[in-house]
Amino acid sequence: MIINKENYELYAIDYIDGNLSDQEKGQMEQFLYKHPNIKKELEGLGMVILTPNKKIVYDGKADLIQAERRPFIGWGGLILLVLLISTSITLIWFQNQNPLISDSTTTVFKTKLNNLPENKQKIQNKIIPNKPSIKEENKIEKNNVIKPTTPIQKVEPSIIEKTSVPILPIVKINNTIIENTEDKKEDISTQNTLNSKSLYIQLKHLSMASITAKELQNKDEYIVNDFVKTVEYQINRNVGFYNTKTSKKAKSIKTPFGKIKFKEIAQAFLPESYIASK
C-alpha cells in the first residue's frame, strides 16, 4: 500500500500512536517529507488528548441499584419440578394398581419387554390370580370354624385339678396364662412339636392324630431348652377334602427356659365329649 494524499489519514493516527509497522512508518515518513504542510498538521497532535474530569459523577446510582435476590429457578424450572412430582405420583399410583410392575427402576425396561410381540401375547394370556386379601381370608377362616356343640364353660383352675374331665378354659405355660378361645374347643386330638425357635402345639382332627389324647395325657412335662419367644398353637381341621389351618400366636413367654406341661395343655384343648367317650 502506497501512502498518498487520499489515504494518509488512515495511517496518520497509527503513526502518531506509534502503531505502524517499520515498512509503513518508512512510507509515512517519505510521504511527509514530500508534503511538509501535512507534516506540520501532524505536529503536536499527540498532545491533543482529552482527559476526563473524574469529579463529574452520576448522582443517581442509588436508583439504579437492584436487589441482589437469590436466583429464582425460573418458570421453566418450576414447570419441570411440577412435572417431575406429578410423574412420580403417577408412577407410584400405577405401580400400586398394577402388580406386574413392582420396581420403578425397571419400569421402562419392563414396558419395553412387555411391548415385544411375543411377550404381549404371553401377558394377555397370563391370568392374574384374584388373591383375596388377608382380611378376606381371615373372614373366610372365621366362617369355617367349627363351632363347638357344647357351650363354653369357664371354670376355676382349682376345680380343673380336681375333676377327671378336664375342660380347662385357661392354660398355664411356664406361668404364662394363655386364654382359651373358641379355637381351643375343637374336636381334636393333640400333638406336640418342638422346634428350635418356637413351640408349636399342633392339634389335629382325630383321624389324623399321631398321638392320642390319652397318650398326651400321660406325658408329664417338656423342658424347653431354647429361647422360646412365642408359643403358638395350630389347629388343623379336616373337613371333607379341605384342610384349613388356624394359627394363633399365644402370649410371649418371658423366661427363655422353662417347663411346659403338655398334660395341662392337652386337657385344656380336649373337649369334654371326647374325654367322656374315652
Binding site: 488512515l10 493516527i13 482529552l50 469529579k55 452520576y58 443517581g60 439504579l64 441482589e68
Partner: protein
C-alpha cells in the same frame, strides 16, 4: 450476569457513561435520562449479557439513545460556558483542558463521540467501531480529524489572546 455483577456495573461504569453523554449532549437532564435508560436495558437483559461485555453494552446503548435523542430533538445547542461544576473542578492544566473541552463543540457529533470514547474510556479503535457501528478505518479518520480540529481551535484561541 448476576444482580451483584449488575450492581458492580452501576458502581464502575455509570460515571463514565454519564460523562460521555454529558460531553456530547451538554444537557444534564438528558444525559441522566440516557444513563437511566441504558442501565434499565442492561438490567432487563442482565441474564443474557456477560459481565465482561457489560461496559461495551452500556456504551453502545447509551450512544444509540443519544443519537436517537439528537435526531428527535435537534437541540444540540451548546452553552457558552461549561457547567459550573466542571469549571470548579479543573486541575493544573486548566487552560489547555478548558480549551479542549470548549473545542468539543467545534466537532461533529460523530467526531466528538469517537474521540471521547477513545480519550475518556480508552477504547480501542475496533471497540469504538462496534459501539458506533463504524469501520475501524473510519474511526481512525474521524479521530484524526477531530484532533486536527481541536488543535486548530486551540491555536486560533492562542492567536486571539
Amino acid at each position: 450476569m448476576t444482580p451483584k455483577e449488575y450492581n458492580t456495573c452501576v458502581a464502575n461504569f455509570s460515571d463514565g457513561v454519564y460523562r460521555f453523554i454529558l460531553k456530547n449532549l451538554r444537557h444534564q437532564a438528558d444525559a441522566e435520562d440516557v444513563v437511566q435508560t441504558s442501565f434499565e436495558r442492561l438490567w432487563i437483559n442482565h441474564t443474557s449479557v456477560s459481565f465482561e461485555k457489560a461496559k461495551s453494552y452500556l456504551f453502545t446503548i447509551a450512544y444509540r439513545c443519544m443519537i436517537d435523542l439528537i435526531r428527535k430533538a435537534k437541540r444540540i445547542e451548546y452553552p457558552e460556558q461549561l457547567p459550573e461544576q466542571e469549571v470548579l473542578n479543573m486541575g493544573e492544566n486548566y487552560a489547555v483542558k478548558e480549551l479542549l473541552e470548549k473545542g468539543l463543540k467545534e466537532l461533529s457529533e460523530i467526531q466528538r463521540s469517537v474521540i471521547l470514547l477513545r480519550d475518556y474510556e480508552g477504547y480501542s479503535y475496533e471497540e469504538i467501531g462496534k459501539i458506533t457501528e463504524l469501520k475501524e478505518s473510519q474511526v481512525k479518520v474521524y479521530i484524526f480529524r477531530a484532533r486536527q480540529k481541536l488543535k486548530s481551535y486551540i491555536k486560533s484561541i492562542e492567536q486571539t489572546v
